[in-house]
Symmetry: C2
Subunit: 141 residues, 2 copies
DNA sequence: CTTTTTCCTATCGGGATAATAGGATTATAT
DNA sequence: ATATAATCCTATTATCCCGATAGGAAAAAG
């Protein structure tokens, strides 16, 4: 239950790799090789991250990828949203009229509450928490 | 992302129905009819809930289903676990040796932290929070 | 104008989910 | 006993999403 897609896990590994690689030197094939990810599949992942404004890409010779912001500015909620979409336990979270129930539906509020709990966790942690040694990201801050 | 299966949503609706139906009078086909769920599919759901000790079933004539505990004793974490398994963002949450990383892997701790956040939400809410009017289950208690 | 790299589109296989089907079991009621 | 009414059990299907793959188009550098 609530398992994370390989796409998101790959994306985080790629981001962590970029955080260790300054400049434009990180090439897609290089990251795939180092992290053991299918190169072509990784392309789509990096494109999503670029579209979301988390990485910058440059094509042509001497092109490649780099982080668009320092690791501390890359919020994990954005990463997850870019790769697997917004946290949405049930479809009626943001668009009513799907279920035949009304807006006061108790189940709906229950799931929205879960969404808030997840968003709060993901929104308060950044890539820096994952790559840096030291503080434990599990503990509430 | 983090969407809930129809199975779990059906299960919650069935539980809510049982909470409104005293005694052994709740028959599978009846619940399915009232909640608009495929009868045969609902059977499997109720079996899971029974195996988990959340509902009791009696077969034969005059048989049916009823809650095994009062709604306030049915923790939503148990419901979710019974229908879709334990909260497990990544497989290495409880069994190491899957990823080629070691136990100090930062990503792993990050996901375990998310698991704790989700489990805390689901563990502190019961069926009573869903069926009862009044307090908003979204707010932290 | 050749090389290197990202970008775009299309396809494919596997696995899980939701649903369906048919019957076997169990208990009640007459 | 026997008919009835219900849960239980096993197997099958249809569909969708994901992870992966493929081939090439566009762009930037030298
Ligand atoms: S309105 Fe969507 S679950 Fe009730
Ligand atoms: S050990 Fe599983 S993600 Fe690192």
């Amino acid at each position: 239950m609530f398992s994370v897609s390989a796409r998101t896990q790959y994306g985080i590994r790629a981001l962590a790799y970029l955080a260790r690689t300054p400049g434009w030197e990180a090439i897609g094939a290089q990251i795939a090789e180092a992290e053991g990810i299918s190169p072509k599949y990784l392309e789509g992942i990096l494109t999503r991250l670029a579209t979301a404004g988390l990485v910058r890409s440059e094509r042509g010779k001497n092109g490649g990828y780099r982080l668009a912001k320092p690791p501390g500015g890359i919020v994990m909620a954005e990463v997850v949203a870019a790769l697997d979409g917004e946290v949405r336990p049930v479809d009626c979270v943001d668009s009513l009229g799907i279920c035949d129930h009304d807006s006061s539906c108790r189940s709906r509020r229950f799931w929205i509450g879960l969404k808030f709990a997840i968003d709060e966790y993901l929104g308060n942690r950044t890539l820096a928490d994952i790559i840096e040694e030291g503080a434990d990201p599990v503990s509430t801050r």
